[in-house]
Assembly symmetry: C2
Homo-oligomer: 352 residues x 2
């Protein structure tokens, strides 16, 4: 499965670079920032794993035995959308590095400092906003190049926009949570996981591939559900890693999610299950500037002894059974069932 996505990434990545190159001369004619921006987009985007793009091709292959040039275009569009969202997110989160490189707005801050421009910080933010916007336009432009039947194209564009809107609304909620002290309910967290991770990362590409393969609504509904289960499992596992993994394992300081008081399913469930005394102790730990290994150990033990871990594990097991059942039910070749099952296991077990 990892080999499959690595291989697909290479294909998408090459076509991604070609697509940007076809725009180069038009961009050059407008101004200096055109080719400069294409160059930055290329490095930023190809630095990722392009799982979303790979899932488009996987869904197409599952149903039609092969992916098409349209599939590649939609894969590139998804990767471009994702890149643009990340560019805007990095501004919102004030993140200067991603995947070991300077984020786009941070690159423009550097640019401003080199050229001795006034207010490098706002220059970087403003340029970052523009680059994200242009990335969205570049992505939508790809839809005009599809050769699929008109109904397929409309269905795809409509589904695509709907899911992107949901992600945007969830991002607003996330911004709100980060600035607010009010309690976050379990339902709010699960709906965030559903729209911002699961549907966006798994459902959107899988269903896009299925739409391109002309699949009936019944199969599309199965893939929607599969994407949601895969994605929520992925997110919960991600939270677990962020809470408890050691520095060596994830390359980040331990307990960073505890320090940031990140509103996860573990966080809300834990607070529901502990005594007042323990709650007070947790309130001292979550959000504290320095997180010691003893603090992490305390939280971890409480997650287990309070039954939080058991409840969440049970939920993951349910999701994983539902995903397995869908994979079994799909009328696709066994090689694709193997890949989907491996993806499920990867999301369940991954350690970084």
């Amino acid at each position: 499965m990892e080999k499959y996505f690595k291989f697909k990434k290479e294909i998408i990545s090459n076509e991604f670079v070609s697509y940007l190159k076809t725009n180069n001369s038009a961009f050059e004619n407008i101004n200096f920032f055109g080719p400069d921006l294409l160059n930055r987009l290329e490095h930023f985007a190809t630095n990722g794993k392009m799982i979303r793009g790979g899932l488009v091709l996987l869904a197409q292959e599952m149903f039609s035995e092969k992916y098409t040039p349209d599939g590649i275009k939609v894969a590139i569009a998804i990767e471009l959308m994702h890149t643009s969202l990340l560019i805007h997110d990095d501004i919102m989160d004030n993140d200067y590095t991603r995947r070991g490189n300077r984020t786009i707005f941070a690159q423009y801050i550097d640019f401003a400092e080199e050229k001795k421009l006034s207010s490098p910080e706002s220059f970087g933010i403003n340029m970052g906003i523009c680059v994200g916007d242009i990335g969205f336009f570049l992505a939508f432009s790809l839809f005009s190049q599809l050769t699929a039947p008109p109904e397929t194209k409309s269905q795809l564009l409509s589904f695509f926009s709907k899911e992107m809107i949901a992600v945007g609304l969830m991002q607003m909620q996330d911004v709100y949570f980060a600035s607010s002290n009010s309690a976050v309910s379990k339902e709010q967290i699960l709906s965030m996981y559903k729209y911002k991770t699961a549907r966006y990362t798994f459902t959107l590409p899988l269903v896009s591939g299925a739409i391109l393969s002309g699949q009936p609504i019944s199969n599309i509904a199965l893939l929607e559900k599969l994407g949601e289960s895969l994605g929520i499992i992925f997110q919960i596992r991600d939270d677990e890693i962020g809470l408890f993994q050691t520095e060596e394992e994830i390359g980040k300081p331990i307990g960073s999610d505890i320090r940031e008081k990140k509103k996860t399913l573990f966080y809300t469930t834990l607070f529901q299950k502990v005594t007042e005394d323990e709650k007070n102790k947790l309130n001292d730990i979550f959000g504290s500037q320095v997180i010691t290994p003893a603090m992490v150990r305390y939280v971890k033990e409480l997650v287990i002894s309070s039954g939080t871990y058991a409840v969440i594990s049970e939920y993951i097991t349910e999701l994983s059974h539902s995903a397995k059942k869908i994979i079994d039910d799909l009328t696709i070749n066994s090689e694709y069932k193997i890949i989907l099952n491996e993806l499920l296991i990867y999301n369940l077990k991954r350690s970084s």
Copy 2:
């Protein structure tokens, strides 16, 4: 002509509100910010004149005697795109009011203050970025609803994306100019006028309407050129107003463009035409914190005595002849020729 656009605005505005309303229940299902955002978008967008949307319908009527539901959808898409760009621009320019109301990010700053959220300023900026992004997605979603033939839709989506990309790149250049002290050439200014005002405000809607009416490439080329001429005239007249109009006439402090050292065609041409002594004096005036009526008078007199005004007037006359000739050459009904001519005269003469 003004009556025509007022009438069209009413139509587009009603359909704009209906379109947002059709999204309301889906948005409500996602979270609180969905309906809240639709409400803010509605008030912000319908507060404008919707000239761009009106031009789409005008172009359709010119060629087909009537506008279609597709025309309305494209008009709404253009207005939504424009709204979203303004939302992002207001963040970049740090503008808290527009058309007498709080800008969108400023509204979210107010929201944060009311709810006592932490860091209202960044909360407002982050929410504003999200709202702009969602506006773009809502706009592109409309393209999936068009009933035009597939080639028409592709042509439209491709043209649309291309022009939006050009606007984004020009916005980057504008951000750069605002932070940089390096000289701006006449060519750079004219290319800014072409892409950021003329093609975006006039060419994009006119050509979109023509594409929907299935016009041949020859007519589309005429409208492209017409839009450019109309728009550059509009922009230069806008600059003149910003430089010399009195406070009562435009409702802004006099000489605000002089204080902001705005890089206009007047500015670069003037600096090319004056003596070293005059240049030094101008350098003291442009960018000064307080602009007196005497300063404005000095700049105005120099614009005339240096021949700057004559050169620019000549350029405007050229553009206006070219526009008139295109209007004459178009095979459209005389009532539409009258409207286009009135639009040309409006752009030439408007005083606020």
